[in-house]
């Protein structure tokens, strides 16, 4: 649940979602749910020459289980806060 809360704070920010099939999609984070399904708006595929599939697409819903990485805006990461939160979560608190 930690990352669910964390990603919810990033709604409206620009992120890059890299899928397990190597497709990377950049877009504005529209919403995220408890399964880390991700909705993006204003999307564009990072390497369009290699992955022309989604040229026509401007928004998408990505299944949480196919996400490999989410690249975040650097200033969207409060490292100290995240450290504390992970420790709390690890203790089950």
């Amino acid at each position: 649940m930690l990352f669910f809360s964390y990603f919810k704070d990033l709604v409206g920010r620009e992120v890059t979602v890299e899928l397990k099939n190597d497709l990377a999609i950049r877009g504005t984070l529209h919403s995220v749910d408890q399964y880390l399904n991700i909705k993006l708006e204003n999307t564009r595929v990072v390497d369009q020459d290699k992955y022309p599939h989604m040229l026509s697409v401007r928004n998408c819903f990505i299944r949480g289980s196919v996400v490999r990485y989410v690249q975040l805006p650097a200033d969207g990461v409060d490292t100290d806060l995240l450290h504390d939160a992970t420790r709390r979560e690890a203790r089950g608190g």
Binding site: K39, M54, L55, S56, V57, R58, C60, F61, I62, G64
Partner: protein
Amino acid sequence: MVVGLRNFSDRIGDGSGEPVLDTENGEEMMRVQTGVTIVLGNGTPQSPGTLYISTKRVIWLSDVDKEIGYVVGFLSISLHAISRDLDSYPSPCIYAQIEAEVGEDDDSEGSGSEANDTIDVSKITEMRLIPSDPSQLDSLFDVFCECAELNPEPNEVHEEEHNWIFSADQLDESMMPEVRDFEWQEDPGNPIGYSNGNHDVVDSILELQIDDQRFDDAEEMEREAQSGHQ
């Protein structure tokens, strides 16, 4: 769970009606959209047909040939989107990426005798659904989202079962040598179980982790054991 796209011809009644759903396991129809053309991969559009979206699956059935139909479970749909940019694709549509079977792609290419006239739908990784009425796209997309959320990964419950050490507080003194012991064992020159040609090493390490008494006897930890317990 079946992965990827499949052929589907399991229709109600004499084969002219709606798809047969798995109602015993709670599958319900969420949306029926007539006048939908389907495009599989880079293939040619197939029409006309009817799109059925259930709580578990997306099913497209041809209106012309009752034997033709396709099904894909929401667990296999990696991504879906609305495609509206006409420069890139001529018809506004729902675009979906399908997680297909893995491992067979390279080998089976030349061996399939039917490869020329029949496509192997289980290898399809992209699907486009083109409604004759483009104004339906937004609501179709929303139904896709809603149903995708109804189908989380079945195995994600295991995530809680790991046994990792997250903070220094969880490392009391008696555990510390054990951790160091582990690091030594992970030295690439000494693969676990085969260092010094002693095949019992794995067993003794397992015992060390469980049994603190034995652990104190370990030679390299003697000094710590003495200072720690006096």
